[in-house]
Symmetry: C2
């Protein structure tokens, strides 16, 4: 039952050819008689033979593995994009290796581990890993690194996100509704992308002679959104909270309603960011700064394909966000 996998040499003997010919039968553009190929493929099917990808990778210098560096799998804000990307990679016969970043030491060690597998590409979705670390770890091999944080390095490609206009629209509406005092609830203290997002809203407020009056830091989870919103609303009289992502926004909405009896959008305006599916659920109906997930993953895949085929081209793609209106602001 636990039979060993058959090798190309063994199959060669069975088919009465050399192992080189076996290899040729499996590579589409190689010189081989069509009768021979058919015979080999049929014998291969019969014995369940498939070329060993590990051996091929060693020879090819090409593993067809992609490292996917993410914060968490469970967090819905990333999950939809992860899901989409995994599908697209698989359709291209690329296998994703998931690297989940928990705490700081892990992260680097994990990336080093993955780098020993000679991954062809690296996609960094996590904002908890510095691009410089990633480049240092992967620079000896050829992977491209796709991420938000720009870095001037020939191996790094970027997806740039522009949410300034959408943030302006959202602020416009909230201000028109009579809200005056804004708080910003960040997802992390130190991440590059979080600072960028905050700036969009801060600029939109500045344009109207206003500013972010209160600030708090969570960790992108519902619980942190809930807890920080409670503290925030107790220590300052804000009537609008912009949150670092949708999940925290839902937590903040629940906290306002449950702990302070404040309802959206009359007593308080709450805005999320990401535009996850859950934000549109009837029970949430969140106003959020949304990024088109399909367009985003299209861009990532395009950068990867460009690199895979050694095509030159710009190393940066810019996407713009949209406001998605719900009943919370």
């Amino acid at each position: 039952m636990n039979k060993r996998r058959i090798t190309s040499k063994e199959l060669a003997k069975l088919a009465g050819v050399s192992s080189a010919t076996i290899s040729r039968a499996f590579s589409p553009d190689s010189r081989i008689g069509s009768a021979t190929r058919d015979r080999i493929l049929s014998v291969a099917r019969e014995h369940g033979y498939q070329p060993n990808a590990i051996a091929r990778s060693l020879n090819n210098q090409r593993s067809r593995l992609v490292a996917l560096v993410v914060n968490a799998i469970g967090n819905p804000c990333e999950a939809e994009e992860q899901q989409l990307l995994v599908h697209r990679l698989q359709a291209r016969q690329l296998l994703p290796i998931i690297l989940c970043c928990a705490d700081h030491d892990d992260r680097l060690q994990l990336m080093r581990l993955a780098s020993t597998y000679q991954v062809d590409h690296v996609v960094v979705f996590s904002d908890m890993v510095s691009m410089q670390d990633a480049v240092d770890i992967f620079h000896t091999t050829k992977p491209i690194i796709v991420s938000f944080e720009p870095l001037d390095n020939e191996n790094v490609s970027n997806i740039r996100i522009d949410g300034a206009a959408a943030a302006d629209e959202i602020i416009e509406k909230i201000v028109n509704d009579g809200k005056k005092r804004f708080a910003y609830l960040s997802g992390t203290k130190s991440s590059w992308i979080d600072k960028l997002r905050r700036k969009w809203f801060a600029d939109a407020l500045a344009r109207r002679g206003m500013a972010i009056e209160a600030e708090a830091f969570g960790d992108y989870t519902y619980d942190s959104g809930f807890k920080e919103a409670v503290l925030l609303l107790h220590r300052s009289k804000v009537d609008a909270i912009i949150c670092g992502n949708d999940v925290m926004a839902i937590g903040a909405r629940d906290a306002a309603r449950r702990m302070l009896g404040k309802n959206t959008p009359d007593d308080i305006a709450i805005v999320g960011q990401d535009g996850i599916a859950m934000a549109a659920w009837d029970c949430n109906d969140l106003t959020t700064l949304s990024l088109d997930h399909v367009a985003f993953i299209d861009a990532v895949v395009e950068l990867i394909e460009r690199h895979d085929a050694d095509l030159p081209g710009p190393h940066s793609i810019t996407l713009t966000c949209n406001a998605r209106w719900g009943s919370t602001a």
Copy 2:
């Protein structure tokens, strides 16, 4: 910049030893002088050398890769467990390859692709893939297959889930609350695990001389829960809906409230399954048949470790579910 990765032979020259000694310096239990090892490790660090895992796998017949077969990444019911498992694998220097099952053709081809990478273990969380298919594809290599669906095969290990007692508790309470007519909203039409879950509740009802009166089939998503609940409530007068998972239960709750003006738990009782974190959020507060995620993943990891170390032992672990009470039933 795009420097090639250094090989053991090159490092050997730099350190003035043979490449075999390099290899020994990196395997903890091999005969090597400690002075030599220290010198090699220091030179290695200096030049950024790390053994090539692909070459090692080829030689070892051991890839340290684990195929993780899942339905979807975005679906929260699996995501928490996926997250936990990935962490635990990484702590053991095992790298997970994610296989996402979209439609059926993909699935088999995807598993075949992964099998060419000589994965050491296979974990099947997806209920959309038949265990027999998995065994057929991976039987030539040595992976163990961990999953719910039992299959009498020496290569398959199982996690058995027992929710009968908890389902009984939940039904007990709902019946005591005066509810009389139960519907079951399945997650899929054909999955093994879904049938099992349905049976727990059907048996609990039968013990009280009752039965499932209406039935519908969704696909584990919020939208399907919402839509099917609307149809269900229009075509039959049920006052309790047991759902295949928590996400559908939230959808069903929203549908009842929004489309029919029925509130939980007075007008209708709604029960989920899985016990995901989101179910406990203040805005959801779902009553659900919950499985301890940590215990579940502990069990999966134990089966994998047992197999990794070639230890004998039972190929099956049974876990029992608990009722988690919320305000929806």
